[in-house]
Symmetry: C2
Subunit: 393 residues, 2 copies
């Protein structure tokens, strides 16, 4: 049956040799369908299975609170129609008789150190991250040599609409993903480019370059993706950084390799007043650590549901770089801390804000009704970006 | 067991809530390992399975001639070590008790209208597509509005090293993927950017912009990926183009929307002498059709293992645009036709070359010992690009 379908798929008769050669044993995907009533229909081909379920990841604050049973139909095609609990981006897997499988019909995203199926459930009340008919910036991949890691690294760079035709210099936001993700996450899951396009079209933010680098830095000879001692992908092994350790390889990459590359290859305002760093979860901890220890390089900071920061005390943390409140308030233009009310990290995140307030450090607090998830980080960026580089307004 | 491993994966204790929430039911991937003796080791987690196989796609000219049995080890981890038959990029799937699965440890590529595991087996004798320490061009994503399709489309654009710092105008190669692929294929599987970087470093080609668009154009209201009548992804439905039909939506996109966008957004030499079109398989057929019917726009053409061209007769095909040999030889700067000796399309491909030779149309023929596969298309681009835009040398 699958062979027959794939022969049809490739359409043109003259391509049938290719189709036949490839059809053997290929899993054929059904793209999940959003229905007019707000439900979603998913289908999955498993002719010999006895039990097939859609398993939301991040329960109970994911796609759905429980696993969703699929029903077997003709030709071994299982299906389910359900109403997602909540809008936003949610991971899921398909479980077939106890074995977790990637849904080949899904759009896959690099998360959990794996390609993982994701469903982006529209929020009918929000369109700040939608693709609209406005001028679009460009996403570029910047390759650069890294002696720290012994590898060529790749950064994703957003240049705002008009960059190519202009001769202006632009401020730069360094924007980091979370644990188990990569330099595509902020555009693939986060829609950072669309958020910036829309903010710029509404004149709510100043044009800026956004640099989204890969947040791991494994030593020379080690795989790009950190590997656990037992050989699986994960952050347990070398390069799976502890964000609290000053001088860690990612910090070295950022300070000695990435920033110089961006300032050389792009028209940047290459000073601390026009350079910000922000990140989500692990990227938030990276931002706190790197900004704290390099206030000569960064004048603004955003922490989006930061994870792995440990306790923060402005008087003592990071060798006391935050201890002089007057000096900090003069130097730091924007400090932004965000958390989700459904996030287990909420109290820890709020603690950073409270400790800054207590010390008299000017900062902006933002919370939204999300768990540890992309819908929250999208909102965080949408709130944070307009605060940046106010002197350019 | 998987929960335990994933808890380790995310490392930092403070992230354990996230790790625990996500670990439920997630499949954990092992990255395939290339061993020093030329073998590959793959692992796959399936504790309850009774038979697990690696199934090469495109047998017998793929990764391996037959399916490869995996052996069950501790903790439900199956493994196999084997020596790939041939270098180059090859798709495969994992078959678990009769069900085809995506290997989450693999790098996945958009092919067969699905994300499909691929293994890029190095050729110890070839390095023209390797990542080297040479100046790198930039890959950019250009969004553009398309009235033909009622969608915002995305083209991948390679700009050569030095483009940003220069004020020069550049010639443009439009380079198309094959059936079931997309605008990422030429960089993800084809390594087109690295091939160009290396050619330019060796001064074997002139700096050019390479535009890799999405080769399907579905009507307004239809999904971006063409869908078959039964709802699966495939080219059987609207927008699954027949490359031989002049006036088809993809041709309209290319001529009335894409070329004007590129000429507006990039510093191009916007004339036929400095514009080429090439493509592989379906993209080859698209190139033949579009160049044949728009010789006013294109001065060079490359057909890489073209599929779906149908019979070609220079005297009569495409309304006779190739009929006047003297005129064609004056106008067309480079015509390049390539095929693989193991490709079922070899005879059909060679027929185009032979018919041009017979008619006296100047053309370059190139064949290599490949099937219908990326290793051949990489070689085709590597041979073709140096022939282009000779007046700029």
């Amino acid at each position: 049956m699958q062979s027959k379908v794939l022969s049809l798929l490739l359409g043109c008769a003259c391509l049938s040799t290719l189709a036949l050669a490839r059809s053997a044993n290929a899993q054929v995907g059904y793209t999940p369908t959003f229905n007019a009533d707000g439900t979603v229909t998913m289908k999955f081909v498993a002719p010999n299975a006895t039990k097939v379920q859609i398993v939301p990841i991040n329960k109970p604050n994911g796609l759905f609170k429980t696993d969703i049973a699929m029903t077997k139909g003709d030709n071994g095609v299982w299906s389910a129609t359900f109403k997602p609990d909540r809008p936003g981006f949610h991971y899921y897997n398909i479980n077939v008789d106890g074995l977790s499988m990637i849904d080949p019909g899904a759009t896959l995203y690099w998360g959990l150190f794996n390609y993982t199926p994701g469903l982006d459930v529209p929020d009918p009340n929000l369109d700040f991250y939608s693709l609209k008919d406005v001028p679009h910036g460009t996403i570029r991949y910047q390759l650069y040599n890294s002696k720290v890691t012994g590898k060529t690294r790749r950064a994703t760079v957003y240049t705002p609409p008009g960059y190519d035709k202009s001769t202006d210099k632009y401020p730069v936001l360094y924007l980091q993903h979370g644990a188990s993700e990569n330099e595509d996450s902020w555009t693939h899951m986060g829609k950072a480019n669309l958020i910036m396009d829309n903010l710029l079209a509404d004149k709510k933010a100043v044009p800026m370059i956004v640099v989204m680098d890969y947040g791991y830095a494994t030593p020379p000879g080690q795989p790009v993706v950190p590997t656990t001692p037992d050989g699986r992908r994960g952050s347990g092994g070398p390069g799976g950084r502890n964000p609290n350790t000053p001088g860690n390889p990612f910090e070295q990459v950022m300070v000695t390799e990435l920033i110089p590359t961006i300032d050389r290859e792009f028209r940047t305002l290459a000073d601390r007043d026009h350079r910000a760093m922000a990140g989500l979860s692990m990227g938030g901890a990276e931002s706190l650590q790197i900004v704290s220890t390099h206030m000569d390089l960064f004048g603004s900071m955003g922490l989006f549901h930061p994870g792995g920061t440990g306790p923060f005390d402005p008087k003592t943390s990071f060798g006391g770089t935050w201890a002089n409140t007057e000096d900090v308030n003069k130097k730091m233009h924007t400090i932004f801390i965000a958390a989700g009310t459904l996030d287990n990290l909420y109290n820890q995140n709020k603690g950073i804000h409270t400790s800054m307030d207590t010390a008299g450090i000017k900062n902006t607090w933002f919370e939204s009704e999300e768990a540890h998830e992309w819908q929250g980080w999208r909102k965080d960026l949408h709130e944070f970006a307009p605060l940046l580089f106010a002197d350019k307004k």
